[in-house]
Symmetry: C2
Subunit: 146 residues, 2 copies
Amino acid sequence: MEEGTSKSPTHSCGTDGPYTDAYQWDTREDCEVRQILDRIGDKWSLLVIALLDRRRLRFTELRREIDGVSQRMLTVTLRQLERDGLVHRTVHAVVPPRVDYELTSLGVTLHETIQALVMWTESHQNEIAAARAAYDARTAAAANAQ
Amino acid sequence: MEEGTSKSPTHSCGTDGPYTDAYQWDTREDCEVRQILDRIGDKWSLLVIALLDRRRLRFTELRREIDGVSQRMLTVTLRQLERDGLVHRTVHAVVPPRVDYELTSLGVTLHETIQALVMWTESHQNEIAAARAAYDARTAAAANAQ
DNA sequence: CAGCATCCCCGGTGATACTG
DNA sequence: CAGTATCACCGGGGATGCTG
C-alpha cells in the first residue's frame, strides 16, 4: 500500500495556459499539509485551540466548556495537539491532580491562521446558504419534472 | 466574560481590537464554521479545489490527476462543492457527454484563504516534526523507565 | 481530578456492477 | 464519458468502568 514511488502524484500543470503560476501544493496523502488538515478537520481540535486562545485551562474546565465532548475524545485530542507541539501540558504534583493546558507559541500562530478561515466562513455563510438553497431548489425541480 | 451556555451562537468581535479580547466563535456542532471545516477536513475537497485553481477540467481529467480517488467519491465531492457554490458544473449536450468543472468566484476566495493555511503548514512543518519526535522520545523514555 | 482500557456502533469511504 | 446504485468494511468516536 506504500505510495512508494510517489510519482509526481499531482498535476504538474505544465505550461498550458495564459495564467501565471498556480501555487502547487503537495497532494500526497501522507504529506504534512494533509496531516495538519486532518487535525483541523477533526471534530474537537479546533474547538480546543479556540478555547485555549490566551487562556490557560485545566482538563475539567475544557470539558465543561466544550459541550458534548467525551472524556476520552478530549484526552485523545489534547494528546495529539501536545504531540504536534501546539498545546503545552503542565502537570502539578498535587492531590488531587491538577493539569493545565495552554497554547504554545506555535499553537498561537496556527490559531491566528485559522481565524482567517473562520472569518471567511462568517463573511460568506450567506452566499453558501443561498447556493445550497438554489441547488436544492434546482434538484427538487428536476426531480419534480421527471 | 461569562459563557452562560456553551451554545452561545454569538461571536462578539464587535469593536474590540484583535488582541483586546478573545475572538469568540460559534461552537455549536451545527454552525456554519463547522460545516465549512468539515468540508475542508474531508478527504478530497481541498484537493479538488486546489486542482481547479485557475483551470477548467472535466471529470476524467480530475480523476486522473487525483491519484487514488474513486469515481464515487469524486462525484460525491464535486456535488457537495457544487451545492456549496464553490464549484461550477457545466454539462455539454454532446455525445459522448462532456462535463466541465471550474471554481466559482466564491471558490476562488476560499482557495486563497486556504493557501494561508497551507503556507503556515509548510513554514512550520519542521517545528511540528521536531515536536512529534520530542514527544515520542519522551513517551518512549517514560515507558522504558517504567 | 485526570486519565486509561474496553466494547461497540455508525457513517464515511472504497469496490463493484450497471446505465444514458 | 460521466455518472448512479448497492454492498461491505473499517476506523473515528461515544459509553462505560476502573485507577493513581
